[in-house]
């Protein structure tokens, strides 16, 4: 058995026994399931309001009824995707940090380093262990949310919907691996363990919350409740024509957003799940043709993060650590 695999097995065992890990994943799962239930309740409220309106219209002799609100089951996952992009990333950082920090706190680091291990066995094993853990977590959450859509949302799913959910699950796995690996690397480089965690959290704050928030608040359509263009009663084609005159501003805004890995994850997930109107009910080929660039950058960023973690988690870096 290779030493990398032994370390990975140790990580799996550690995490299986870790109550904090169980609590974090439980919290994420509950938040995601709540978001599905709330989205389903919100749709039912809309439907009730629509039915009441139609009843009153019929009673008053009206004939032209507006289109009924339509439920697209995968759109119930929007809140879940957003929780994963915010909380999932934070918890991935904590797990990544924990894999390095615990060896120092428990005093097992010196024991590990006294063994004849290959250069990349420790970081490689830790990254492999986390990759397996995230695979299992994402798989379980995928099953749970799918069941939630069927049972709580009371919405039927087609075969193609399952494929879309699976693609979103792969995207989520890559995103979580990015953050865990980054946290391993930052913790390995930091002189103090707590500094490693706080620096990783500052990076999370900047790339998950601040940069997307700036982009979002710079969006002209986000300036009034319900949307600027809806308030001004402007149709989508006219909106696009008007915005074409502000291409430089929109370029800066979009540039800010795409500098965050979180936006790549969000846009990919929203596109494949049909949450974004443009991609709703569109064939997968159409979505891929538009989104492949985001898929490439997310995969490349994750690979770079893994290489960073494995590259900087050296014997010298981890040994100089102060608790």
């Amino acid at each position: 058995m290779s030493s990398t695999w032994v370390i990975a097995q140790k990580e799996l065992l550690d995490l299986r026994r870790d109550r904090l890990f169980a609590v974090l994943i439980g919290f994420l799962a509950v938040a995601t399931l709540i978001s599905v239930a709330v989205a389903a309740a919100s749709f039912r409220t809309q439907l009730d309001a629509y039915n009441l309106y139609v009843q009153q219209l019929t009673a008053s002799g009206g004939t032209s009824t507006p289109a009924a609100p339509q439920l697209f089951p995968l759109q119930l996952l929007r809140g879940g995707v957003e929780y994963l992009e915010i909380l999932g990333a934070l918890f991935a950082i904590v797990l990544g940090y924990g894999t390095v920090a615990k060896e120092k706190y428990r005093g097992t680091l010196q024991l590990l380093l006294s063994r004849p291990l290959a250069r990349f066995a420790i970081p490689g094993g830790k990254v492999l262990g986390l990759a397996i853990v995230w695979f299992v977590v994402v798989a379980l959450m995928t099953v749970a949310t799918t069941v939630a859509i069927l049972v709580i949302g009371n919405a039927p799913l087609q075969g193609i919907d399952m494929v879309r959910i699976l693609i979103a699950a792969v995207v989520a796995w890559l995103y979580l691996m990015f953050w865990s690996s980054l946290a391993i690397g930052i913790t390995a480089l930091s002189h103090r363990l707590s500094t490693g965690l706080i620096v990783a959290i500052v990076v999370w704050l900047a790339f998950v919350l601040i940069i997307p928030q700036i982009g979002d608040t710079m969006d002209p359509d986000n300036q009034v409740p319900g949307g600027l263009f809806a308030t001004l009663q402007i149709q989508k084609p006219d909106e696009l024509k008007v915005l074409a005159n502000f291409a430089a501003f929109d370029g800066i805004r979009n540039g800010l957003e795409v500098s965050s890995i979180t936006k790549h994850f969000e846009r990919l997930s929203f596109a494949f799940l049909g949450i974004k109107d443009k991609f709703n009910q569109q064939p997968l080929g159409f979505v891929w043709a538009d989104m492949w660039g985001y898929a490439v950058t997310l995969a490349a960023a994750t690979l770079a993060s893994v290489i960073f973690a494995v590259g900087v988690t050296t014997r010298r870096n981890v040994q100089r650590k102060i608790s």
């Binding site: 974090l24 938040a31 009730d48 929007r78 909380l87 704050l205 997307p212 300036q223 409740p225 008007v242």
Partner: protein, 299 residues
């Protein structure tokens, strides 16, 4: 000098020396200052969009931004206070209480004739001064930038509103620093001490408002309030979750204070809720028993 003042001075000194805390403080001050510029650039662009729409004859609706006050440019700061400020306050609070437990200085301090309440209140006062200084610096620079954008210094009324917003921000941040102090006192591990308040913060900032209004988590990071779902389930649940959503109460009260036209009503109830949380958290932290303060950290 009494325990309270010594503890407060000690806390300020430690925060001044903590380089990691400086990173968060710099990010916070930088973003609050940048928020005015972002608000101004966005406002200019949106006004341009409206003028283009009007020139093309696509609308007859009035400009939704007519008559906005200069304080409009500060509205993004509300989000940065509850986003960066809250996390910064949590980190400061955790470090304040955990530091002594890790270094076992609590044992030494409590071997003297020192009351635990005076000691903890002193630490809180020290943190309160640090937070007040950070908020003061941020909004003084922000006031100058808004005055430059406006072409004239802000009037007394607007300056008063900025000060009221600073006070409200201080109440929120001190509440979160108390949460950090509490987990720093109660947790057996440093990771747990940092993570538990972060998890509570995310539940309060994202999960609670979503349960009561169906607002998407990311939309809660926009100063413009999301359109809430109402009727049946939502009316009932929001009655329970609304007062507990401290960050949403802060957003609401701040938006009213900063004269954001998209939020209407009175800021009193939201302010009272924030003050109630501050009081409750203070009582909980100050009631920490002596042996808990002296307990070691497992990591």
């Amino acid at each position: 000098m009494n325990t309270f003042l010594v503890s407060a001075r000690y806390e300020m000194l430690n925060t001044r020396r903590a380089r990691t805390a400086h990173l968060l403080l710099i990010v916070f001050i930088g973003m609050v200052v940048a928020s005015s510029v972002i608000g101004w650039v966005t406002n200019q662009t949106v006004t341009g969009v409206y003028e283009k729409v009007l020139a093309d004859g696509l609308t007859t609706a009035p400009n939704p931004f007519t008559g906005v006050t200069p304080l409009y440019y500060a509205r993004n700061a509300v989000i940065y206070v509850l986003l960066i400020g809250s996390l910064m306050a949590i980190v400061l609070g955790v470090q304040a209480t955990l530091r002594d437990r890790k270094a076992a200085t609590t044992d030494l301090v409590l071997s003297r004739p020192v009351g635990t309440a005076a000691r903890l209140l002193g630490q809180l006062a020290g943190l309160g001064v640090v937070l007040a200084a950070v908020i003061g610096i941020s909004f003084t620079v922000s006031w100058i930038i808004i005055s430059v954008i406006n072409g004239a210094p802000l009037g007394w009324a607007e300056t008063g509103r900025v000060i009221a917003f600073c006070l409200l921000s201080w109440v929120l941040l001190t509440t979160f620093s108390l949460l950090g102090m509490l987990t720093g006192l109660r947790s057996k591990q440093e990771t747990t001490a940092l993570l538990v308040p972060f998890a509570i913060w995310s539940a309060v900032a994202f999960v609670l408002p979503q349960i009561g209004t169906a607002a998407r988590p990311v939309s809660l990071l926009n100063p413009v309030p999301a359109v809430s779902s109402t009727g049946g389930y939502f009316d009932f649940v929001s009655m329970i979750t609304g007062p507990l959503s401290v960050t949403e109460q802060f957003k609401r009260a701040s938006s009213i204070i900063l004269q954001d036209t998209t939020v209407t009503g009175d800021a009193t109830s939201s302010t009272l809720i924030l003050l109630a949380f501050l009081t409750v958290m203070t009582v909980i932290v100050v009631a920490t028993p002596r042996n808990r303060m002296r307990s070691g950290v497992n990591e």
